[in-house]
């Protein structure tokens, strides 16, 4: 940590576990990646129709974000910064994510066939979930983050995404029978609800600073 950032850190260093907890909560709640940065909207809108698939995809996203945040952090520190090729980071990060998703898919297919069939198409879809690349890109702009901070940031962001999609699936299952104007059905009403949830999350902002 540079002297500038050391001075920017909270007055007394609260210790790593406390800092990690704050990062986790901040990433999951106050800076929810879906509701404040619009990332991961596509699969959010498409999948949140059913609770079961929402939970499945959400858990998969948590797993992939956490692992790719860790991997990409190592790539950032040990490869791109050291060689001075930061401009290639987009390519490296996204390829790492795609490769990781493919790997997970193969492992799950091989050893946990029931889970594989339950998740179906959603597993490969994770690659195009914007939230995952977003996490990797934001993590490196947060200066002063070490390996653990970055990994926990990934975990928190994934949990925030899971929380948002589960909330939405619950709400959508309740309004299925309601009278909604024809053109607003599906994506439209989901966006309105997302807006209202996002308003609530705006209230969280500023509660945690790190």
């Amino acid at each position: 940590m540079s002297p500038v950032l050391a001075a920017a850190a909270p007055q007394a260093n609260p210790g790593l576990p406390a800092q990690l907890l704050v990062i986790l909560l901040a990433a999951a709640l106050t800076d929810n990646i879906l509701l404040t940065r619009f990332l991961g909207m596509c699969s959010f809108l498409a999948i949140s129709r059913q609770m079961k698939t929402s939970v499945g995809l959400g858990v998969a996203v948590v797993f992939v974000t956490t692992c790719t945040a860790a991997l990409n952090y190592l790539i950032h520190v040990f490869i791109t910064v050291r060689l001075g090729i930061e401009y290639l980071e987009y390519i490296l990060f996204i390829v790492v994510i795609a490769a990781f998703v493919q790997l997970v898919e193969m492992i799950v297919e091989r050893f946990l066939p029931p889970l594989y069939f339950a998740l179906g198409i959603f597993l490969p879809l994770i690659t195009v979930n914007c939230a995952i690349l977003g996490v990797s890109l934001f993590m490196i702009t947060k200066e002063g983050y070490g390996f653990w901070q970055s990994t926990v940031f990934g975990l928190g962001s994934g949990l925030g995404w899971l929380l948002a999609i589960v909330l939405m699936a619950g709400i959508r299952s309740r309004i299925r029978e309601d009278k909604i104007p024809e053109g607003l059905r599906g994506a439209g009403i989901t966006l309105v609800i997302t807006g209202i949830i996002a308003l609530a999350f705006v209230g969280f902002s500023g509660m945690l600073t790190f």
Binding site: P3, V4, L5, A7, A8, I85, Y87, L88, I91, V95, F138, T141, K142, E143, G144, S205, G206, T209
Partner: protein, 231 residues
Amino acid sequence: MTSRPLYIVGFMVAVAAVFGTAVTGIQLGSARVLERNNAFLRQRSLVTVFGYGDPRGLGPEGVAEIVSGNILQGERLADPETGEVFDLIEAYSGPDRRELLAYGFPLRGLGLWGPVEAILALRPDLSRSHGLVIVAHAETPGLGGRIEEPVFTAQFRDGVVTSPPSSGAFVRLAAPGTPDPDGRQIDAITGATQTCMAFERMLNRGLAGFHRAMAARHVRQRRERGHDGVP
């Protein structure tokens, strides 16, 4: 379609190599332009923050001329308490460098989403701000990103009080329209309170450190002058 493992791996490597090389080539090819742009952006920030005129009207040559003529850079000050280093910028009203217009120093810290870099200029007696320019930031465009717009920066041109306070912080953030008895108030941007609060923290920390560093410089200069025998 063939799907032998060797072919798959080979194809992937080939595609990655082709695109990687292409991107690297373009990056290296444009490196000089990028460097020139960065240098120009910095010079322009300096002209703006010290209020030498509208950089757009001056043109690149005019801007470069003012920066090399009127502005003295390179002295590094250290805050005796934290060891933080400040790059001191001295701005004079003319190329003869006789009348000191303002001091400036780069202010760095974390905004809401990422690092923010600014240059803050203070009047020669350090009592009030002379100007502010945001050099780089990673805040949301249209929200926190508006800290770089005159909406936010113009208030520093009016002279926010920056002398060491008898108690409390150097400057404080408030909603626009709040009564301001001591002149230490900064108006927040609607919808970007978080970024403004982060910036407020940066300002208070930076001002405290800069005041200490300048006091140390003053003591050192006095001592040096004493050694030289000049009263």
